[in-house]
Symmetry: C2
Subunit: 331 residues, 2 copies
């Protein structure tokens, strides 16, 4: 129990163990197809790959913070995990990834075709689950979130190897690929609880800032993380020509000679270990790793401050500590 | 006007020109993304590739047959065209197709990644449009249809080159990949009109049988069609190892020697023109092309008979003649 107390995600999982078991049962039920066993095989591989279920936990916790007493939060938590899973499957196809969290991806074990179609299936099932919650407001939020996610992913794809990618475009990408679903996950918990707009807005902001802080931390760790705990090599974003904040700011501040180095390394795919070292050296020189760290911590604080409208409770404390926990890996 | 009278699809487009223009405007509005122009570029390519918009026409016509007077039918028709477009984009990635209706596919002109993500985007937009129609019943029907479509596509993928594919599995595949959306398209027109269950059921059956007849005709034409009007070579399904009804029935009736030929041709990819000729010879021998033709005509009749509950009108006559028109290419 003590180690769980120090990790707010584990504490939330412990607190909402019964609810999360119901979510898992729903996920299993909805991904089982008798005629096409590959759906559950592939989905099971994905669900057992060590995801922390942060998004469905957010929905459950938000609903509980608003004193919700029905069972729609279970359905919506499962729907949100399905949307997330569908985007993971499609992402790995788009990125041609062979590993996720240190384990082989579905597209590597099966093939791209199956990952595309099973992703579509999971997205459809998430849609069925949302309809079961019988709230047009919730459906509208999740439809908008889905569109924002796709838009972010497409923008990210267009920005690959584009050295002119701006900080503004970067934020648009991470608002889409990460913050939109965190925001929706937290917000729908409030919506189904029928609380006043102030509380809905508070949880919407909490989710959004948490998502931004989560993604900035992830992008920073790609340069400064510990390979063992990351389960992958550092510098993957650099090698794939994915421009994240530390790199975007470094290119912005670079001398002509440094810009030429980046152009050469990224456009011509010569992103060897020496290039990565050189890139890290330039980022350190201009303090862009620190700049990114500070932005992540800013968002973490904003997420925490969003919860001010709620009266104090253990759950509120845990949700506030979650914002610190996320940046603790880089702080 | 006279040539339009002989073609029920053109007649429906003529009759509902105003509505279809509104549908097109909605499609354009929802596929425009300022930050990511590739979305509208790729979608426009797809929408201008010569599709007949049969599914959205079905929704408009069904609503009109039920005397509907609101504007949800426009939104739902656009939503259904988006679902269809999303599946086309993903299908072409899964099948590695370079051409559709004689024109280069989006995945060929852009890349698989863009087709996967823009497909996801269009699916999300269809979901937004459905929510705007503000009917949980409609949302439920379309969520179920989407899941059935994905399931059909996955089943089809698993059945590729599987010589044991049964007639039962074939019907499950085409129920998914084609009939489910035809059925939903016709049914939602009735649902929003709030007509009695008998009329909903009639249009549901009409759509389903029309979809089945449409797919059987398509699968037969792949063997017996005219290459010029098809816009592609005949025998593509055979070459790709896609088992459709004429082939499934032929394999079922084959002698051991013929079975060995099919196994050799399909499993080992030796599907040259001589193999196709031999396959056609065996299909003719066992009458499986005729068997498929009869099944298509049966479904066409069932579709037509489904409309009996509606009182006579020009629109009913056109919808009945549409069922004959679809099979006229093989009859």
């Amino acid at each position: 129990m003590n180690s769980q107390m120090n990790n707010p995600i584990k504490l939330l999982r412990f607190t909402f163990d019964k609810e999360m078991q119901s979510v898992d049962r729903l996920l299993n039920k909805y991904m089982t197809s008798v005629s096409t066993p590959i759906i559950s095989e592939l989905s099971n591989h994905l669900f057992n790959a060590g995801g922390k279920r942060v998004r469905p936990l957010l929905t459950i916790a938000s609903a509980k913070l608003c004193d919700y007493s029905g069972d729609s939060h279970i359905k919506l938590a499962a729907a949100i995990e399905f949307i997330h899973s569908a985007t993971l499957l499609h992402d790995d196809v788009v990125d041609e990834s062979e590993k996720r969290r240190g384990k082989p991806t579905a597209n590597f074990l099966w093939n791209n075709q199956s990952s595309v179609l099973v992703g579509d299936y999971l997205f459809s099932k998430s849609f069925q689950l949302m309809v079961e919650a019988e709230s047009l407001d919730v459906l509208s939020i999740l439809a908008d979130a889905s569109a924002t996610i796709s838009e972010g992913e497409i923008l990210q794809l267009s920005a690959v190897k584009n050295l002119n990618t701006s900080e503004e475009v970067y934020y648009k990408i991470i608002e889409g690929k990460t913050a939109a679903l965190f925001e929706a996950a937290a917000m729908v918990g409030a919506i189904i609880s029928k609380v006043e707009p102030d509380f809905v807005k508070a949880l919407k902001n909490y989710g959004r800032y948490l998502g931004l802080c989560f993604q900035l931390t992830d992008d920073l760790l790609d340069y400064v993380g510990d390979e063992k705990s990351l389960g992958k090599k550092i510098g993957d974003d650099f090698r794939e020509g994915k421009l994240t904040l530390p790199l975007i700011k470094a290119i912005e501040k670079s001398t002509l000679k440094e810009k030429k180095f980046f152009k050469n390394a990224i456009k011509r795919n010569s992103t060897c270990d020496e290039s990565l070292e050189e890139a890290l050296f330039i980022m350190e020189k201009y303090g862009t790793l620190d700049f990114t760290r500070k932005k992540a911590i800013d968002f973490s604080k904003k997420a925490s401050d969003s919860l001010t409208v709620f009266s104090d409770s253990n759950l509120k404390t845990t949700l506030k500590s979650l914002t610190c926990y996320i940046v603790s890996r880089i702080n």
